[in-house]
Structure formats: C-alpha cells, structure tokens
C-alpha cells in the first residue's frame, strides 16, 4: 500500500519468471471450466425472457421445492449457529479425554461422500433405525418428511460453523476477558459483550457458508427425504428431474435462482472478510 511495499512488490515482478505463463493458464482454465459454463446458465435463462422465467418458477411444485431448500437451509444454519459455537468453545477452551479424536471427527461431513452420508442418515432415522424407532414411538417421523431434509442439512453444515469459529476464538485476547472481569463484569456479560462481538464476523461467515452448502445439497438429502413433490422434494432434485424429462428450460430457471443466491452469498462473505481484515478483527 505504501511506497516501500510497492517498490518491493514491483521488484518481485521483475525478478521472478513465469508470471505470463501461470497467469495465462490460470485465466483460461478458470474461464473454460467455470466462468463460461456458468454464464451459459444465465444466457439460457435470459433466453427464456422474464415471462418465461416466471412461468417456470411460479409452478407450485417449483415454489415448494425452492421454499424447502432455502427455508430448510436457513433453519439448519440457525441450529448450527447455536450448537456450532458450543462445540467450538468446548474444543478451544476445555480439556477432556479423547479431545483430539473428537476434534478430527468434526470434518466428517466434509470428508464423507454425500451419498454415503445419505444412506446412513436414511437407515438411522428410518422406521427401523437406531434413532428412527424411538422417535417414531414418540410420534416424530423424521425419514421421508421435511424434517429428514432438515436433519441432513444440519449434518452437512456443522463443520462450517465450528471450523470458522475456532481460529477466531483462539485469537480472542484473554486479557480482554480478564479486564472485563476486573471491571466487574460477570461471566455472562463478558461473553456477550466482549467475546461475542469479536467473533461475530466468523459466526456470520460460518453460518453463510453452511446455508449456501445446504441450499445446494443433493446427495445426503435425497435418500432421507422421500422426495414427495410439493412436500419433501428439494430444488436440486427437481433440477435433476427436469433434466431427465429433457426440460432444459425448467431446469435452467431453477438453477438460475439458486446461482444468483450463491453469488450473493459469496459477495457478502467477501465483503465481510474484507471488512474484518480492515478493522483488524480476526
């Protein structure tokens, strides 16, 4: 930013080779594989026109699927917004037996293929499952209902909250907490007024990532959802069904809505990180 770093940076430019080659490859690979194909969705959607788009999207089955994907993802992110911080707090601040193993486990939803998670959740919450049977006895049906969709969304969103929050909690200055305590704050006041503001950017970006992932999630949901049109059918599955019917217009319209949402989330996350960096928050 200042003159000194600028001159250092331009000297890097002069000394190191390979900028042209690596940059050319980066840009063409990115364009050919990601940008142009994604732009194709918008081109196709634009080709439908506003009335055509509205015709596709206003169908009750499509509206229900979008409502389930977005609403379910919002609820799942909210649940993870409660439990994720507790899990992260316990990992950062407490010591207990087997902590490293538990800690490594948190990445399971990232590492486990979604189809595997899908059949596992479906068997687990199914009528004869380890959790499904007792829940059924209580009159709660999870598998093959919107509740099943929600459970799968909580599963895949969990690591985002924990993993973005942990570094923020580690960096939070304990001396600030000591200062707050010295000034007479009780523990609850310290947590809500000192720690919480410091980790809010991390909380928000974790929740946004969990939400974005859950909106587009397919594999871990479709086995447990039951996929009843209008009730437990998610938007990505409806895209799949439209494609199998060779209804490219219908598939593209749904995809365009979801793409706009994910671009908006990505832009918001970027702004959040930029602001956090500028204000010096972790």
């Amino acid at each position: 930013m200042n003159a000194a770093t600028h001159s250092r940076d331009s000297s890097i430019n002069r000394v190191l080779p390979g900028f042209g080659l690596s940059m050319a490859f980066t840009l063409s690979y990115l364009s050919l594989l990601v940008l142009i194909p994604l732009a194709g969705v918008f081109a196709k959607a634009a080709g439908l026109g506003l009335s055509g788009l509205w015709h596709e999207l206003s169908e009750p089955r499509v509206l229900a699927a979008l409502r389930l994907s977005f609403g379910g993802a919002l609820l799942a992110a909210a649940v993870n917004l409660v439990f994720g911080p507790i899990v992260a707090w316990v990992f950062v601040r407490y010591r207990f037996f087997g902590k490293r193993l538990w800690h490594a486990m948190v990445d399971l939803p990232f590492a486990l293929p979604t189809a595997v998670a899908g059949i596992a959740l479906s068997a687990l919450y199914g009528p004869q499952g380890w959790l499904g049977q007792p829940l059924n006895a209580l009159g709660i049906k999870v598998a093959y209902t919107p509740l099943g969709v929600f459970v799968a969304m909580v599963f895949i969103g969990l690591p985002f909250l924990v993993r973005t929050l942990e570094p923020a909690l580690e960096h939070a200055e304990r001396t600030l907490e000591e200062a707050a305590a010295t000034l007479g704050a009780n523990r609850w006041q310290t947590i809500t007024r000192v720690i919480l503001p410091a980790v809010t950017p991390a909380l928000l970006s974790g929740a946004a990532m969990a939400f974005a992932r859950a909106v587009g999630e397919y594999g871990s949901i479709i086995f447990i959802a039951g996929n009843l049109p209008g009730l437990s059918e998610i938007a990505p599955l409806l895209i799949m069904i439209r494609l199998e019917e060779y209804d490219y217009a219908g598939a593209t319209a749904i995809a365009a809505v979801m793409l706009v949402a994910s671009c908006a989330i990505l832009a918001a996350l970027n702004a959040l990180q930029f602001r956090a960096r500028r204000t010096g928050a972790p």
Binding site: S10, V90, A104, I119, G216, F223, M258, S262
Partner: protein
C-alpha cells in the same frame, strides 16, 4: 479508597472469573459431545454396522461384484484425471497470485472459490447445457461421434469443476506466507527458472501440496450430485462408486450398498487422519517461517 483496595479479589478468584463454573463447563461439554455423537458418530457407526450386517463374506461378495469393480475403476479414473488437472491449475494460480501483483487479484481469488458455492447438481447441469443432446454443442458432437455427456469425459469435467478450488486455496496462503526470497536467492545464484521451480519452490510447498491433493482426491472420489447428472447411469460403464451405492440402495440390496459405502467411508477416515497429521506438520512449517 483503602478499604476498596483491600476488598479487591485475590488472583485466584480473578482467574475463576474468566472461567465458567464447573457445572457450566460440564454441561457445555455434555451438550457438545452429545450433538457430535448424534450427528457424526451414529451415521458413521451405521455405515460400518450395516456393511457387515451379514458377515464379512457378504461384504466381500458385494465389494468384488462386477458392477462394484467397474465402479471402483471408474472412480479411480475420474479422480486421477480431475486431481491432476486441478493440481496443475493450483500450482499456476498460486504462483501468479502469491508472487505477483496485478489489478483485480481479490476478484480472481473470489472466482476461484466460486465452484464451492455452486450446487453439485448445477455443476452437472452446466455441462448438459453445453454438451447434452439438446445443448449448444450437442448436434455438432453427435455428427462427429463424440460422446461427452453420459460418458466418462463428462464425468471427469463435472468432477473437475466440483473439486476446482482445493489445491489452489491451500497453496496460495502458504506461498503468500513464505514469500519469494528463496526463489530470488536461487535465481541470483544462477539457477534457471525451471530448476528454481523444481528444486526450491516445489520442495517448499510439498506438504501443502499433498494436503490440497488429498482433499481434492477425497472429494473427487466421493462426488455424487454432479456426476449423477452427467453419467446417464449406465451399469458397469458410467457408474462411479457413489453412483453404484445409490443403485444398490434403490435395488434394496442394502448390504451391498453399505459395503461399497464402507470403502468410501474408510477412504474418508484415512483422509481425515492424514489431514490431521498434515495440519500438525504444516503448523510446524509455518511457525518456522514466522520465526525467520
């Protein structure tokens, strides 16, 4: 005044004030671990339990089923090609972004992350729109007898899209952190550009590279939605392991589905173990560079 100083809490109590009471700590640990047990441990246990529900013989029969073997080969092929392409991209992107300054760099980094926030089904859809029978290039491709969609090239494309950012986003921060002074020194000492890359840059980022490749490979082997859209579900031809799991499951061959799933779960556990090891290893490496 003096009485207030006397009333100031001793040090031990100050420490107690920045820790929660014992019962709160235990409550939080119980809540966190139960949540993790229900949402992570039970599904994993379910996979292993159901895979061996009819004994190891049934497990082995399912894993060595001709359809399973074809699916394993297909998964290895798509993952190898996708990981190779994305590793090459990751090296180039990291080199350009970490070591050079140019306008719009922040945008480029954001765009590299884009595939992570796109639904896997949409990742498949975009290639259908281009290469599908009714897509933009569809008629030209069928005239020339080239099959991309419903064949392995489409599956490789979809897998590559979905795993696109992994290697780049592990290498960029590492190179930014370490800086380019080692490379500059090598050049000053008379090394050629390629020699500098092979003997200085590559050894310097080997652990991070391994980390990125590991995550990329895990996702490539396990990708389901994107591949499902473009595969066409041709038994023994275009099914990867996750697609074969779905096929077994929908055929009510639950033991076979979970047996094949257990292989993928084992790969996931292995990946997580190696990831934990590399994180520990990388932390040491990064701390060392910070100390310079």
């Amino acid at each position: 005044m003096s009485t207030r100083t006397l009333e100031a809490p001793p040090l031990a109590q100050t420490n107690a004030a920045i820790d929660e009471p014992r019962w709160v700590r235990h409550l939080l640990m119980a809540v966190a671990l139960s949540f993790l047990a229900i949402f992570l441990l039970l599904p994993l246990g379910q996979v292993l339990f159901s895979a061996f529900a009819e004994g190891t013989g049934a497990w082995w029969a399912a894993v060595t089923d001709p359809d399973s073997r074809a699916a394993i080969r297909m998964s290895l092929l798509t993952a190898t090609l996708a990981v190779a392409a994305n590793t090459l991209f990751g090296l180039c992107a990291a080199w350009a972004i970490a070591y050079f300054h140019f306008p719009g760099k922040r945008w480029l980094v954001t765009l590299i992350d884009l595939p992570f926030s796109v639904s896997p089904v949409i990742a498949g859809l975009i290639f259908i729109l281009i290469f599908g029978a009714r897509g933009w290039a569809g008629s030209w491709l069928s005239e020339h007898g080239i099959r991309i969609v419903f064949a392995w090239p489409g599956m490789v494309l979809a897998t590559t899209f979905v795993t696109f950012p992994f290697v780049a986003r592990t290498l960029i921060p590492l190179l930014q952190q370490k800086g380019s002074q080692h490379e500059e020194a090598a050049l000053t000492l008379g090394a050629s550009g390629w020699r500098m890359f092979w003997q200085v840059s590559l050894p310097k980022m080997r652990w991070a590279l391994l980390y990125g490749v590991l995550l990329c490979n895990a996702r490539a082997m396990g990708e389901f939605g994107a591949v499902s859209v473009v595969s066409g579900h041709i038994r023994g031809r275009t099914n990867t392991m996750p697609l074969q799991v779905e096929l077994f499951y929908n055929d009510y061959r639950f033991v076979a589905a979970f047996a094949l799933a257990s292989l993928l779960a084992a790969l996931a556990l292995l990946t997580m173990g190696l990831k934990a090891f590399l994180e520990w290893r990388l932390r040491g490496e990064l701390a060392a560079t910070r100390g310079h």
